[in-house]
C-alpha cells in the first residue's frame, strides 16, 4: 500500500514540478509564434554596467529581440533562430560595434535565451565575468500604458 502511494505521490509531484517549470518558462520567454515579452535588461561587466529594456517577439521565422536604453536609444537588434539554435545580430550600437564584442554577444545572447527558456532570468559569463539579467516587465501594466494614449 505505502509503496504504491509513495509512487503516486512522487509522480504527481514530478508532474506538478514539470508544469511549474513549463508555466514559468512560458511566462519568461515567447516560446510560441505571435507571443512577445518585455524585459528590464541589466548587463553588468567588471567595471561598468548597462541597463535598459529588451523586447522579444516570436514571429514566423525567429524570435526577434531589440535592446535599448531607458531613453529609447537602440543598443542591440538580434534574432534567435530556434531551428539552428543560433543568434544573428542585426544591429549593434556604435561603441560596441567591434567584431570581438559581436562574437561575445552572439554567444551570450544564445545562452541567455536558453536560460530564459528554462525559466531562469540570469546568465553569468564566467570567462569574462559578465552578468546578464533579463527580468520580465509587468505586461499588463505596459499594455495599459500603451493603450491609454
Amino acid at each position: 500500500m505505502w509503496p504504491f502511494l509513495l509512487r503516486r505521490l512522487l509522480s504527481v509531484s514530478c508532474l506538478w514540478l514539470f508544469l511549474c517549470v513549463e508555466v514559468g518558462a512560458q511566462q519568461l520567454f515567447p516560446a510560441r509564434q505571435g507571443e512577445k515579452q518585455r524585459y528590464a535588461a541589466y548587463i553588468e561587466m567588471p567595471k561598468a554596467y548597462v541597463s535598459g529594456v529588451c523586447m522579444m517577439l516570436h514571429d514566423s521565422t525567429a524570435v526577434k529581440g531589440c535592446v535599448f536604453n531607458e531613453f529609447g536609444l537602440s543598443a542591440i537588434d538580434f534574432s534567435y533562430l530556434p531551428a539552428k539554435d543560433k543568434v544573428v545580430l542585426h544591429h549593434v550600437a556604435g561603441a560596441m560595434d567591434k567584431w570581438y564584442i559581436r562574437r561575445l554577444l552572439r554567444r551570450d545572447l544564445r545562452e541567455l535565451v536558453h536560460r530564459l527558456q528554462q525559466g531562469n532570468t540570469t546568465y553569468y559569463n564566467e570567462k569574462y565575468h559578465i552578468t546578464y539579467q533579463f527580468t520580465p516587465i509587468n505586461n499588463e501594466k505596459t499594455e495599459n500604458n500603451g493603450t491609454e494614449e
Binding site: 528590464a40 541597463s51 529594456v53 523586447m55 535599448f68 531607458e70 556604435g94 500603451g146 491609454e148 494614449e149
Partner: protein, 303 residues
C-alpha cells in the same frame, strides 16, 4: 514656410486681379458728367463690382496672414504682386515688358524669398532663445514612445521632468520601469531599481555630451548650439519645427536627426523626436508643462 508663400501668392493674385478689373472698369467708364446716366453706368459696370469683391477677399486674406505669420515675413511677400502686375500688363493690356524690367522683377522675387526665409528662421530662433533665457524652471509629465521597426512594435513609458536654470535637470521614468537621471552642475545621478551611481561629467566625456544635449534639447538651446547640430526651422501649423542634423560622428552614430516641436505661443518644446539611422524612432511628448514654478532643491539632489 510654404504655407505662407502659398497664401502670399493667392493674395497677390487677388490683388492684381482687382487692379486689372479696376483698369478695365475705368477704360469702359463714360466721360465724367454730373448726370444720372453717368452714375447709373457705374452701378451696372460689373468690372467695378468684381474689382471690389477681389479687393475685399485680398484684404481678408491679408488680415489673416498678418494675424498668423510674423510681420517681417509677410510684408516683403506682398511685393510679389509686382510680378503678377507685369504679367497682367502683357496678357490683358498687351503692353511691352523689356528685359530690364524682367530682371528687376526677378530681383524682387529673389529678394522676397531671401527676406522671408532668412527673417522668419532668424526670428523664430531669437524668440525661442529669449523664451529659454526667461525660463527659470519648468516641470512636466512626459510620455515616451519607442517605435521598433524590426518588431513593428512600440514601447510606451511615462515619467516626470524637472528643469531649473541653468544646469539642473531631473528626468524620471515611473512606469513601466523606474529610472532616474539627475544632472546637477557637474554631477549626474543614475538611479535604477538595482543601484545608484554618481558620475562626475568632467571625468566622463560621453556623459558630459549626453547631459549637455539633453539639457539643451529640453529648453531649445540646441538651436544655437552649432557644435553639435545644424538646425533648420520651419512653421508647421500651430507649431515651429526644428530639425537638427548631428554634426559630430558620435552623435551621427546615435541619431539621424532630432526634431523639436515648439509651441508657437509659449515658445517651449512640446515634443522631441529622436530618429535613428536604422529606422527606429523615439517620440517624447511633454504634457502639463508648467514654467517658472518653485521646485524643491531636493529634486535635484545628487548623492
Amino acid at each position: 514656410m510654404w504655407k505662407v508663400i502659398l497664401y502670399a501668392l493667392l493674395q497677390c493674385i487677388l490683388l492684381t486681379g482687382g487692379q486689372v478689373l479696376l483698369k478695365f472698369a475705368l477704360l469702359r467708364m463714360p466721360p465724367f458728367a454730373w448726370s444720372r446716366a453717368f452714375w447709373g453706368s457705374l452701378l451696372v459696370n460689373w468690372h467695378f463690382a468684381a474689382c471690389g469683391l477681389l479687393f475685399g477677399a485680398a484684404s481678408l486674406l491679408w488680415m489673416y496672414m498678418m494675424k498668423v505669420f510674423p510681420f517681417s515675413t509677410v510684408y516683403p511677400l506682398v511685393s510679389l504682386s509686382y510680378v503678377f502686375g507685369m504679367l497682367a500688363a502683357m496678357l490683358f493690356f498687351h503692353e511691352e515688358v523689356s528685359a530690364v524690367k524682367w530682371t528687376g522683377v526677378l530681383l524682387i522675387m529673389l529678394g522676397c524669398t531671401l527676406t522671408a526665409q532668412g527673417q522668419s528662421a532668424q526670428q523664430m530662433r531669437q524668440q525661442i532663445q529669449q523664451a529659454a533665457a526667461a525660463m527659470k524652471s519648468m516641470q512636466c509629465d512626459f510620455v515616451q514612445t519607442k517605435h521598433l521597426k524590426m518588431l513593428n512594435e512600440q514601447m510606451v513609458s511615462k515619467g516626470k521632468m524637472y528643469y531649473q536654470q541653468s544646469d539642473k535637470l531631473r528626468w524620471e521614468y515611473v512606469t513601466p520601469y523606474t529610472y532616474t537621471f539627475v544632472l546637477n552642475n557637474t554631477k549626474v545621478l543614475l538611479k535604477n531599481s538595482r543601484r545608484d551611481d554618481v558620475i562626475d561629467v568632467n571625468r566622463n566625456r560621453f556623459f558630459k555630451e549626453i547631459a549637455r544635449v539633453m539639457m539643451n534639447s529640453v529648453v531649445g538651446n540646441c538651436l544655437s548650439d552649432d557644435k553639435d547640430f545644424k538646425a533648420d526651422l520651419a512653421v508647421a501649423g500651430n507649431e515651429w519645427v526644428a530639425t537638427l542634423h548631428p554634426v559630430r560622428k558620435e552623435m551621427r552614430q546615435m541619431f539621424q536627426q532630432v526634431r523639436l516641436h515648439f509651441d508657437k505661443v509659449q515658445k517651449t518644446v512640446t515634443r522631441v523626436e529622436l530618429i535613428e539611422k536604422k529606422g527606429d524612432k523615439t517620440i517624447i511628448e511633454l504634457k502639463n508643462v508648467r514654467t517658472n514654478v518653485a521646485i524643491p532643491a531636493e529634486t535635484f539632489a545628487v548623492r
